[in-house]
Amino acid sequence: MTDIADLYQELILDHNARPRNNGTLTPCSHQAEGYNPLCGDTLTLYLQVEGDIIRDVKFVGSGCAISTASTSLMTTALKGKTLAQAESLYRAFHELVTSESPRADEALLGKLMAFAGVREFPSRVKCATLAWHTLEAALHARKEPVSTE
């Protein structure tokens, strides 16, 4: 049986209590809004991309512990990455939290491995992926706010 501590790992609790990169970034090169209509979580993500490199990332929003920690950890993981690396991370993270038998790339995911337990809590997967879907929208400059539904 999975334990509640498999979901709420130390790292997740820490990033929920003290989210990193919290705030706005203006001007910035990319921006998108995310929304989870099921729980009312909202998120605005700001990115400063120079050339091929993500120089800075910030966010504001309100959400549950999983969604807040996921956004916070994502922002720390993205800084300094190339756009191609960000895409790989997105795919690896998605597989980690949604696949039945993920081939988790631990080296690539690093601290994001803290979300490995989310898979066992199907109703919380969308909380973990909201930030990442919003990232996709920001990078691909979609105008509509992304929604988890």
């Binding site: 509640i4 979901l7 709420y8 609790l13 099921l38 729980c39 009312g40 512990a65 109703s123 919380r124």
Partner: protein, 424 residues
Amino acid sequence: MSALLVSDHSEAPPVNNAVYDVARLRRAFPILGREVHGHPLTYLDNAATTQKPKAVLEAIEHHYIHECANVHRGAYWLSEKASEQYEQARKDVARFIHAAHAKEIIFVRGATEAINLVAAGFGRSLLKPGDEIIVSEMEHHSNIVPWQMCAEQSGAGIKVLPFDDRGVLQVAELERLLSARTKLLAVTHVSNALGTVNPLKEIITQAHAHGVPVLVDGAQAIPHLPVDVVTLDADYYVFSGHKVYGPTGIGVLYGKREALERLPPYQGGGDMIRTVSFEKTTYAPLPARFEAGTPDIAGAIGLGAALRFVESVGVEAISRHEAMLMAEAKQVLSDIPGLRLIGTAPHRAGVISFTLDKVHPHDMATILDRQGIAVRAGHHCAQPVMKHFGVPATARASFAMYNTLAEVQALGAALRHVREVLRP
């Protein structure tokens, strides 16, 4: 089928006037014996749907095993039997809500479809540009969106009857909102997000003084309070079977005869006509006029059984038991540091909504679930209510006839544990 469905008279529900024997009552609900995540199930999401007693499961099974046929169609024994049972269910509903005539009971899919049926009728043939519909601020989305759709279609406008910071409707505002343009008032009996019981009699009397008919959303009242549609003088009263111990897929639109006859048919098809030709079709009288196609026969029979089950326990007795659970919940929750009750109206039933400082309701619900406790977290399909209180979501515990004081206390203990897990 399952051994659980075998009747056992020692497990019959307690009868009226007897001591309220909740342990015995629980045995009538097979699912309450199960475990979740290694803990006994503590089911506190009854406002979403209630669990089903054996009597309901048996009635459905009996229909399919012994009396399955379509209704009102066959001149043969089996169809007559099925029709008789289906119509008996209609009589059960009429008796339960004290309707004057069984034909004022229309079977639909649920509260949502019932409201859509009335709204579609108003939109299609009773409203014109400039007309107004009054909707309260505490409605479930299913009593908002159909009116917005019908307003859009007809050019009518929507006015909102607000509630105050306790979650009490500001009925005094009605005088300002009601006018010659008002064509309907839609209001819930009990709020699914706040638990508020609204002063329906007063609201309906005021609306009627202006000649305005009232649709009451009874989805959250039916399982908790005695309902008498004639005394209330409601023009339309809707509810879902699954929230009152019946199956999903069946619900009720009650309408006063004239109120129903004003409405054009909803869906066209078999059973709702008198005669059909390509020149002209004439419609059947009530209730068939609004029941196009093969209805949820087994669902209606299950609902009839559910209502008889509730009657055997006694609506008043259930009300008293749940009031005790609510009082205990208020006490237990108020003692928890950082807990804020959302909705503090003096008259509430069945539902208690709350937030916990620095803890998102979703995290609360996940942590409680791991202890076998099912509560709802979210906006409860009542986003205007969330907005009023400035919260994205709340956690909600909602009670049924089978919940116990021990379960309420378990909820309290589990909520204290939430802070230990999350250390927000």
